[in-house]
Assembly symmetry: C2
Homo-oligomer: 418 residues x 2
């Protein structure tokens, strides 16, 4: 108990910092990002010490090795973090950008200007590099940020936040533009989620349970990313070599991520030729297939799928496979079982490609490319703070622009409303 005052004070400081951040020029923000990168490299030892405390605690608690490894701020992770900061520094400053402007019949010139969102809250799990990545993006977009990381990375996060704050002060930006919740108590998070007057948007990053918890308790808007049940539909008219390469890439290049393919839909016209050879490639890469009856007939090794397989996010070397009589049935299947994340069609047919692009309402719809491209860096946004699978404000990867909004501006010469 007693977190209300601490959290409210934190929110108030963030709001004040946000007012100053909104006025910060592009050069200062760039300097902050470059300086933070330099400082992180210069403070390697300090970071390593803090990180070691988290690692020791995690090992003492008997966390599985994979989880402990995710906490490690190795030289490679530090390099990625600092490269990321410098990349974000070089992105064009979104703040103050006039996205459009037009003149009204009465001569009033009306336009839209990009401004920061204000105060962004980020609640995340495990990996401490998120502290730096997220703070960097938020600052670039002129926001203040309140970060609440996972308890396992507590000391690492605190150390990185201190370095960020030192850079803020040194470049003349408000120290409170980056704040970290210094407790791992869930009560504190609950209080944070009540601060609708001080936090403009909450971005949870982590498992489904965390995201639901935030979505259900937050009083402010939440940008959320539930699961990625991504489909590839292999059309009747397809370049089979290309299809094999793309399907393999979408499933095995990194199976544990949200943009990996989870269900393969194959047109019945091509299934008898395509599925046996595709299955062979999958089996060679250790992928377990779970198929509809027709798939099992064409690929005798294939295990039958149950209703639960459609809609499953395996995040593993498992793939559901279904033969469909038409593209329309493929789209229907996607609409029914998909998660609006990423869907691709592989086809040589122009009209079906255009219809699929038009009719499938996922955050990324691709023609003849791997689902693995649904990622801010890959799509050219420069960086990303998450992938939104709901449609308000942002749908798909969120880059620096998605951390802004637009206000209307109008230049007049004394116009009156009649």
């Amino acid at each position: 108990m007693g977190y209300r005052d601490t959290m409210t004070a934190m929110g108030r400081r963030a709001r004040e910092a946000a007012h100053l951040m909104a006025k910060a020029g592009a050069t200062v923000k760039e300097a902050f990002l470059e300086q933070t990168a330099d400082r992180i490299l210069a403070e390697r030892d300090r970071i390593a010490q803090a990180n070691a405390r988290d690692i020791d605690a995690a090992e003492a608690k008997g966390l599985p090795k994979a989880k402990v490894d995710r906490l490690r701020l190795t030289d490679k992770v530090l390099k990625e973090m600092t490269d990321g900061l410098r990349q974000v520094a070089r992105l064009p400053d979104p703040v103050g950008q006039i996205t459009s402007m037009w003149t009204r019949p009465n001569g009033l010139r009306v336009g839209r200007m990009r401004i920061p969102l204000g105060v962004v809250g980020i609640i995340y799990e495990s990996r401490p590099n998120v502290t730096v990545d997220a703070a960097g993006l938020c600052i670039k977009a002129g926001n203040a940020v309140i970060l609440r990381g996972g308890s396992e990375a507590f000391h690492s996060n605190r150390c990185l936040a201190q370095i960020l704050q030192e850079s803020l002060v040194e470049t003349g930006l408000p120290e409170a533009a980056v704040q970290v919740v210094e407790t791992t108590d869930r009560e504190a998070v609950l209080e944070l989620l009540q601060l609708e007057d001080y936090i403009d948007v909450m971005i949870p990053r982590g498992g489904e349970e965390l995201i639901r918890f935030v979505a259900e308790n937050a009083r402010m808007p939440v940008l959320k990313h539930y699961k990625g049940v991504c489909h590839i539909y292999v059309d009747e008219r397809v370049d089979m070599d290309m299809a094999e390469r793309v399907c393999l890439n979408a499933k095995v290049q990194r199976p544990g991520v949200c943009n990996a393919m989870e269900t393969l839909l194959v047109h019945q016209g091509v299934a008898p030729v395509f599925l046996p050879r595709m299955a062979e490639a999958f089996y060679r890469h250790g992928v377990e297939l779970r198929g509809c009856p027709e798939t099992c007939r064409l690929v005798p090794q294939c295990r039958p799928a149950t209703e639960d397989d459609w809609g499953a996010e395996y995040l593993d070397l498992i793939l559901a496979v279904k033969v469909v009589p038409s593209m329309d049935e493929a789209i229907e299947h996607i609409t029914r079982y998909g998660s609006s994340h990423t869907e691709a069609i592989l086809t040589e047919d122009f009209h079906r490609a255009m219809r699929f692009i038009q009719e499938v309402q996922s955050s990324l719809v691709l023609v003849n490319a791997s689902t693995r491209f649904n990622d801010g860096y890959q799509l050219g946004l420069g960086a990303e703070i998450g992938i939104s699978t709901s449609r308000l404000h942002a749908f798909g990867p969120m880059g620096v622009e998605e951390l802004t909004t637009t206000k209307f501006i109008a230049f007049g010469t004394g116009q009156l409303r009649q």
Copy 2:
């Protein structure tokens, strides 16, 4: 009790209709809007009968005359409704619009395409014309809509919804694209607000109490508009004739609306000359002034303001007036007491105009024009479904584009992620 099933069934029908609506072409949607306008005029008598039941009930309940008048579907109101529908029909179709497209180094062509939001919920009070205005806009943007109007307009809303549904069926669009909650029980609204799987966004329109109720209980995102505490700052270097006209327009042209001026801030350098003449004009128009000590000194008639006057949304012929030593203090006052709705600067000074535009973070910031322009029609959006004073998704007047989102699309030639 017992509303859960009805509301869920309604949500499910809306979701199905939304899938079909997303595919509907521009011509069909245009035909629907034109036909609804024709039908409304053809069915004058039927509408008048339904409307009479609401009017009778309102009068029997002893509602004040102003409130009863707001319910009346007069010929003028019908004309405005149908003109509005035809205007929306002629707007460019936002759906399918590709807002930008670029090519990645690997040859992948990536773009953003506008798609409907899905299912929009609208909860509103009193005026039955909102039923038609809101439904028209939602359909234009390819959405399905669930409407819940005020109990006073129950019969009028139901009749208008039936006409909308008849038009939907006649033009081959899904009937469930427009649905009206046929009960005025608040329990039903509460159930509606739980349907996060079926309703993508909720837009409350009405008094502050209604908006807070929706914001606090909704599980889906809410686009909300709290109050409009709009400021005009009259700078030291100003064309006083223009300033007098603009201030008068902003306060008295229609004092009861959210974009009317509520506080006037005047630079001390111009106050001694400007305030006495401005006050005279205000008093001539029946405006009560409540001023800071300096204002009261310059305008002896002026009543002293209390702390509550700063930040008050009078919606009436009352105005708070304050003399400020600088533009920075004006901006500080706005940041502290404003509602992020509409703020204007009146000045001849280029640099201050540009700084004010940049530094004031309201949904519309004007130079040398009346605050009354914060309105979708006035700013050139063609129509509006409300004004958002929070920053997520939309900030300011929301037109047909704000009822859409964008998905990413990508055209490839077999690209794989490395």
